[in-house]
Symmetry: C2
Subunit: 428 residues, 2 copies
């Protein structure tokens, strides 16, 4: 048996570690028997040398085994979830989970709270008064049995090794390691006892993955690890430059999701939901892609997805009628005539975050009302002085000049309309 220092040396020198060795490391780390400095050195060695699919699978298994895994077998087959690597204005989960449930699937979504510029799915749902993401496993199972979907927060007992490792990676410049990303996502998702997973890998300047190549590598590794562990994974690479839909924030994104659940709302969001939830249906039923997609779109158009959403929110204690609306908004004017040639989604997310829509650090309280409504979208024509976007006021009221300037600067204007772009770039 090699010591931890010998294992770090081996990985540093490009060797492949055995499954037992990987499990030993993760197990020791979870028990606090391996100090942070050794894990940090190993993580950096992994950053440089990588992990192969076997090592990554062992990592996922060990992180899974460090905590509790759900047993949802009593709910029968058709348990499929979705994961996204994170985008600006992405309210997909809020629409996709009820739509997939309406199509007969079971969607046991365990989601993280965001530590980013804007909130995560849970933060968005918590802008509904009364909504609770703290749901006991028995209650979670019961909601899934009756509604078909539930969205709860990650509990401390799911993959605690990942929780510890994630915090470490954050301060040691090893967040970007592909096998560690795969390990982190898969260990949390496989704890949900799912049969399939649809993965949305965002690509672009406002995404974690900046290039198609990196995104494709992540997708392939997730698929390979899923295969080894008996979970079918379908991945899509999707564009992440401009915000998705028109709303960026928390309560405002819930509102936009509600439009989509009733067959309305922005076309790009509907396209993304139909694609991703369609693939979930494919996995669960074996339907072909077009058929599966049509099944999902039908649930949005005939009120079934909406009904599931209402049931889910009510089951989790939320009062949709009480969803707060902003007291006012500040329009950001265009500095010239022209076409919107691009929008810097990351810049918009950062302004939203600074205004209170996201956490700068763990424990920060989110202001659910703060947000940005994009008025002029990519390809739209604007007149000088006309609105590019609007800041939705939260507790702090109107935004300072600096925030307004940064928002205006996020819109690039040109004399010629930009070429249309595709949202879904590739299916892996």
């Amino acid at each position: 048996v090699r010591s931890i220092t010998e294992l770090i040396t081996a990985k540093r020198d490009g060797e492949t570690l055995s499954g037992d060795e990987i499990r030993h490391v993760v197990d020791a780390y979870a028990r606090h028997a391996l100090p942070d400095e050794q894990m940090a050195a190993l993580a950096m060695a992994i950053y440089f040398r990588g992990l192969d699919d076997g090592e990554t699978s062992a990592l996922v298994e060990a992180m899974l085994a460090s905590g509790r895994t759900l047993d949802l077998s009593s709910l029968g087959p058709g348990r499929v979830d979705k994961h996204s690597t994170g985008g600006v204005g992405d309210k997909t989960s809020l629409i996709l989970a009820p739509a997939a449930a309406a199509a007969g699937l079971v969607v046991p979504m365990v989601s993280g709270r965001g530590l980013g510029h804007t909130g995560g799915t849970i933060d968005k749902l918590e802008s509904i008064p009364g909504f609770s993401a703290d749901v006991e496993v028995d209650r979670f199972r019961a909601i899934l049995a009756s509604v078909g979907c539930a969205i709860i927060g990650q509990t401390a007992d799911i993959a605690p090794a990942d929780k510890r490792l994630y915090a470490l990676r954050d301060v040691t410049a090893t967040v970007g390691s592909l096998p560690l990303i795969v390990g982190s996502i898969m260990s949390k998702k496989l704890a949900e006892d799912i049969e399939g997973l649809v993965l949305d890998v965002k690509v672009g300047r406002a995404a974690f993955m900046k290039t198609l190549e990196d995104a494709r590598a992540l997708a392939k590794s997730m698929i390979a690890v899923g295969e080894r562990m008996g979970v079918r994974v379908i991945a899509f690479l999707t564009r992440m430059e401009e915000p998705l839909g028109r709303m960026v924030g928390n309560a405002c994104e819930v509102r936009e999701a509600m439009d989509l659940l009733r067959g309305a709302g922005p076309a790009d969001m509907r396209e993304l939901v139909a694609t991703l939830a369609g693939a979930m249906v494919e996995i669960a039923t074996g339907a072909d892609a077009e058929e599966a997609r049509a099944t999902i779109e039908a649930t949005l158009d005939d009120g079934r997805a909406w009904a599931r959403f209402e049931q889910m929110v009510a089951a989790q204690g939320g009062d949709l009628a009480a969803l707060p609306a902003p007291a006012g908004e500040t329009l950001i004017p265009a500095p010239r005539d022209g076409f919107v040639t691009s929008i810097d989604g990351l810049a918009i997310a950062k302004v939203c975050g600074a205004l209170g829509a996201g956490r700068q650090r763990q424990g920060d309280v989110i202001d659910p009302l703060v947000g940005v409504r994009v008025v002029a979208r990519r390809g739209d024509r604007v007149a000088r002085g006309g609105p590019l976007c609007a800041v939705l006021h939260g507790q702090r009221g109107a935004p300072p000049a600096e925030a307004r300037d940064r928002l205006a600067a996020a819109f690039s204007l040109g004399d010629v309309a930009p070429e249309p772009v595709r949202l879904v770039l590739e299916r892996v």
Copy 2:
């Protein structure tokens, strides 16, 4: 100003950090304001990406500044020291310091306690009853003024950042990083307020550096950093396969050093002392190499080096007459007739260490009597059953069979005498 995580990211991606950034990191680490996990990740990134001479010099400066530096200017010019990267049976310092002092130099040697298979220079000296390496700075200066040399242990207030970093590197597989090795050595040596340093980089299977190329790179980096910091460095690459001299241990190495100080003893040790101490004289006086070497050999042959050694030991409280001798020894017989074609110095050191001559971990007490006397050296002819070496008994008495077998296996025997080899491979 970049955050620590941003600096780790920059180094990870191959950027050069500024001197201020390096100093900021080391300063924060010394003040315990930078956690071990971040330093570990940075050390591993440095392992992969390296540091250039400017970064390494900044590292040395910052580690120096983290603690106390001596002021020995009152002793006048001619302050030169030697550092070796560590070899088996290497008792050079015990001979070289008095010899150089006898040649008119001042040798303020601050040495580490070994954490290896056999003890360090201080451990060897401490086998002399009464000898103390814990010497206050004023007393150190006084001994240097009267004797010209003193050998003391590293105090906690010299380069504490290096001390902390060294312990961290040990458990994070980053001990082998060349710039971190240079930083560690130079920060401790420059704290001695010396004008010149002679470096003995051991090369071979029993050395830290296994190849000439690695050893040369270390030597060149040390010379470059020394130059930037106003200290002249001369480096030698020397062979480290067989033990140096005949003795491996602690008290027995002191005894062999005493022979050499009186003009006797093994030729390889005398060659090494003349080469290294000769280079010290070169630096201090500007003499040419042959002349400087002859100056040193004269001090060994005419009793002046011996006198300085006696004075130094007495000044540090040691009673040479009380140096203990082993109660007995166990001969290790040759399994066949033949020539000794090679001796595995590292294997011999490991057996010595296991028998009590070294520390397996910090805080272990060393048995000064334990040692190995090499009887048949490389190139010697042996008869079956005749002695290869002898184990010098310590408190635990005769060695177990396993130790005897391992010692016998350390000697390779062949039918043909091996080609002679050079001890000093290269001057850099």
